[in-house]
């Protein structure tokens, strides 16, 4: 059943959504590119270690990267073919990581060693968690936190509420929306696997009220679930999809500063991640493809594609009919938190929920002016910080004062900078301040030793 959320994000903004560009485009599968570029750093945590060498042949789903540590994830070949190179390549953030180039052989042969488990209901949770880990599942909402870690709460922590995130609050993006509309059963099966793993009865599927069709489809599909199941209709407001804010909107509880959702018994999984968990457990299918929205005004034919991970953006652009010459900015993700990238040669990863082109008219070069204390950043901040003062402390390089004002709680959602009439680079200031604060902590720790 569907209920209206009792709470909403603190602060928040209402950007123009532009979802109409891609909203009604059904999921499509583009052709295989001539070369896949599979990064080893597609998740939060340590990049995976390549396990293949140039010249090796690989099968679809075969492991080509070993997780390097507890918070890390395995990487698999997205199709069958030949390893052309093991080199390094920049990721969307600009950091450089190991990357494996695979030339598809066109046969897309699946690794015969991969086995599904139709009897998962009778399987113990530990084995299911290792299946999830083996398949390299990482959070598909954007942050890419390794899912098996999230599903293994340390002893003493219990999770009583599973929140399934279908908010998709970033403007332009419609990947989660299409998935909920076209493949709700996959998501729902994934949810029941998570329920089984964690023994959770209470499930809340959180969707913004600008997606009534998705709410309807999910409600229909979720009737198969057992327990206390509800679809929670959130106000359409950015950032309803941010983890801590969504938990608050759904439960009215605040995750303590520096803590994790499990500290208050909650777990948030993106709808795409739930579907990937289903594929991993039931089909034994590693995460080698995902739904990506490729959109923007300069794009000929905005689309929602199910593309192999490692597909170069240029290939998807071609699939969508190309961009016109007004294209000026290319963003990996949405306009609020996505990363601007310089070249179409970058390839998709497990976390590429969207690829967005902005036209020249949508991009302005601006210089910032002094803060006029209008209070809009304070009003918009979903963490209830005071960005105006924080940014002034950081400009003055008084990082300790900024830290005392809870700088480290900033989630870099961009609400403050979106609203700032003085066009101050508030998010950059926060990032700089946070980096300096972390450096200082490291220095202090080193001095203690």
């Amino acid at each position: 059943m569907t209920t209206k959320a009792t709470y909403t994000v603190p602060g928040g903004i209402h950007p123009k959504y532009h979802k109409e560009l891609a909203r009604d485009r059904e999921l499509e599968t583009p052709t295989m590119p001539v070369l896949l570029k599979v990064s080893m750093s597609q998740h939060l945590g340590a990049p995976a270690q390549p396990t293949v060498a140039k010249g090796n042949t690989v099968l679809r789903g075969q492991r080509i990267g070993e997780p390097a540590g507890f918070i890390s994830a395995a990487v698999h070949a997205p199709t069958s073919g030949i390893v052309k190179a093991v080199n390094t390549a920049p990721t969307a953030t600009g950091a450089v990581a190991a990357s494996i180039d695979i030339e598809p052989d066109g046969e897309d042969k699946v690794d015969p060693g991969l086995q599904g488990n139709a009897n998962w209901q009778q399987t113990n949770p530990e084995d299911l968690i290792s299946a999830v880990a083996d398949c390299g599942i990482a959070g598909m909402g954007g942050a890419g936190f390794p899912t098996h870690v999230k599903l293994s709460p340390p002893p003493g922590k219990t999770i009583d509420t599973l929140i399934v995130n279908g908010a998709e609050c970033e403007p332009y993006l419609t990947a989660d929306y299409r998935l909920m509309l076209e493949q709700p059963e996959r998501i729902v099966e994934g949810i029941s696997i998570i329920q089984h793993i964690l023994g959770v009865k209470t499930v809340r599927i959180a969707i913004e009220d600008n997606k009534p069709e998705a709410i309807k489809e999910m409600e229909r599909a979720a009737s198969k679930l057992h327990g206390d199941i509800k679809i929670v209709e959130l106000n359409t407001e950015y950032p309803q999809g941010a983890e801590k804010q969504q938990i608050y909107a759904v439960t009215g509880q605040e995750v303590p500063s520096g803590g994790l959702p499990m500290d208050i018994g909650a777990l948030v999984e993106n709808v795409g991640t739930a579907a990937a968990i289903r594929d991993a457990v039931i089909d034994g299918k590693p995460l080698t493809e995902r739904v990506t929205t490729i959109t923007g005004v300069p794009l000929q034919r905005p689309s929602n594609v199910v593309a192999r991970i490692g597909t170069p953006i240029s290939h998807l652009v071609e699939f969508c009919g190309g961009v016109n010459n007004s294209a000026c900015k290319l963003i990996c993700g949405g306009p609020m938190m996505g990363f601007a990238i310089a070249s179409e040669e970058l390839a998709t990863t497990k976390t590429t929920s969207g690829i967005l082109f902005l036209a020249k008219s949508q991009v302005t070069a601006f210089s910032s002016t002094p803060c006029i204390s209008c209070g809009r950043c304070v009003e918009g901040c979903p963490m209830r910080l005071v960005p105006s003062e924080l940014s002034q402390f950081i400009e003055a390089e008084d990082y300790e004062a900024a830290e005392a004002m809870n700088l480290l709680d900033c989630i870099e959602c961009g609400c403050c900078a979106f609203q700032c009439p003085a066009t101050r680079p508030l998010v950059q200031h926060m990032r700089r301040g946070k980096a300096e604060a972390m450096l200082r902590r490291k220095r202090e720790q080193a001095e203690k030793k």
């Binding site: 071609e318 900015k329 002016t369 209008c374 009439p421």
Partner: protein, 338 residues
């Protein structure tokens, strides 16, 4: 790889967010100017060419001094943010119709150079430039700043018959005879005060025009309702209490609201972003403080029948303190449960 798209080889790279609301300082200032147009029209209707003279004098002086002083100080030109025009209009609104032009010019230059640019320009000024300039003139040129004429009586001339403002009349009568001035309520029907047919500064007389502008600003989200509502509400409440205690010696609350500079101050001066608090709670505190001080000055000060300018200026000085004590509780920082 051959690239069949028409995209550039190299896209623009910048930090997120990649979207902006489109509201800039300049746009906000233009909105404030638009919101002042009804009051400007009222001032032209009631005070004719004198109003036009003052607005032109103040605005041109503000623009000129802003441009020159920024140039001398080696700062980037900022006249195009229109904040100097806002200051000029507000100062003109706060002047009596017959004040000599040179005083308006000196006041405008003082507002821009001393109150604004010396402190670092827009954003760094602790006090509202127009208000500080008005108070400077009030102290330095008391005679000209307290010479009032009835609307219509001073259309062209600076030598019109003078009169007292309603608040001045009331204070004068009360402090000399401790009774209400004779014929006060007959001379100033409430509707006249609401429409603006009363002596006063050129931009403060018409509550109706100011209300239209103020509501427009709230609708455009350029000001928050907290400041005017708590300001006017506090004045109404205090005036109501005083009136209930002794209606003979205390002015009726509706007169307190519709006379003097309260409407102009509450909607256009106290709401100045730079010199008011950043949180809504702080704005409420600020509004209440302005209301309290305004009433204290109107009722108990020796020489001043009106207290809006002093009240707001004093509260301007308290803004950093108010910001500090009304800081929101950061999300996730819950008080420890015992």
């Amino acid at each position: 790889m051959d690239n069949k798209t028409n995209g550039p080889q190299q896209y623009v790279v910048s930090s997120s967010p990649h979207a902006h609301s489109g509201d800039t300082v300049r746009k906000i200032m233009l909105t404030v100017i638009i919101a002042m147009l009804p009051a400007l029209a009222a001032s032209l209707y009631f005070f004719g060419l004198n109003a036009l003279r003052l607005v032109l004098m103040c605005c041109s002086t503000c623009i000129l001094t802003e441009a020159i002083s920024r140039k001398i100080m080696g700062r980037e030109a900022a006249v195009d943010d229109f904040s100097a025009v806002v200051t000029g209009m507000l100062l003109a609104f706060n002047l009596p119709p017959t004040i000599p032009s040179w005083m308006a010019v000196v006041g405008s230059a003082f507002a821009i150079i001393i109150v604004k640019q010396v402190f670092g320009g827009l954003g760094y000024n602790p006090f509202n430039p127009a208000l500080a300039a008005r108070v400077m003139l009030l102290i330095a040129c008391t005679g000209s700043m307290t010479t009032w004429t009835m609307p219509g009586g001073s259309f062209m001339s600076v030598n019109a018959a003078t009169t007292a403002t309603p608040l001045g009349m009331w204070k004068e009568a009360w402090s000399s005879t401790a009774t209400a001035p004779a014929g006060f309520f007959e001379q100033y029907p409430i509707m006249d005060l609401f429409l603006g047919n009363q002596p006063g500064c050129i931009g403060e007389v018409s509550a109706l025009a100011l209300l239209i502008g103020g509501l427009y600003l709230i609708w455009k989200r350029c000001i928050y309702w907290q400041v005017p509502v708590f300001y006017i509400g506090t004045v109404a409440l205090l005036a109501g209490i005083l009136y209930a205690i002794d209606p003979e010696t205390n002015l009726r609350p509706d007169y307190h609201i519709l006379t003097g500079g309260l409407m102009l101050g509450a909607f256009f001066m106290a709401t100045d972003m730079v010199t008011s608090p950043i949180t809504k709670k702080g704005m409420a505190v600020f509004g209440i403080g302005c209301g309290l001080l305004t009433m204290i000055i109107r009722k108990w000060s020796g020489g001043y029948p009106e207290g809006v300018s002093f009240a707001i200026l004093f509260m301007n000085a308290l803004v950093p303190l108010i910001n500090n004590v009304t800081k929101p509780r950061t999300f996730g920082h819950l008080k420890a449960k015992k």
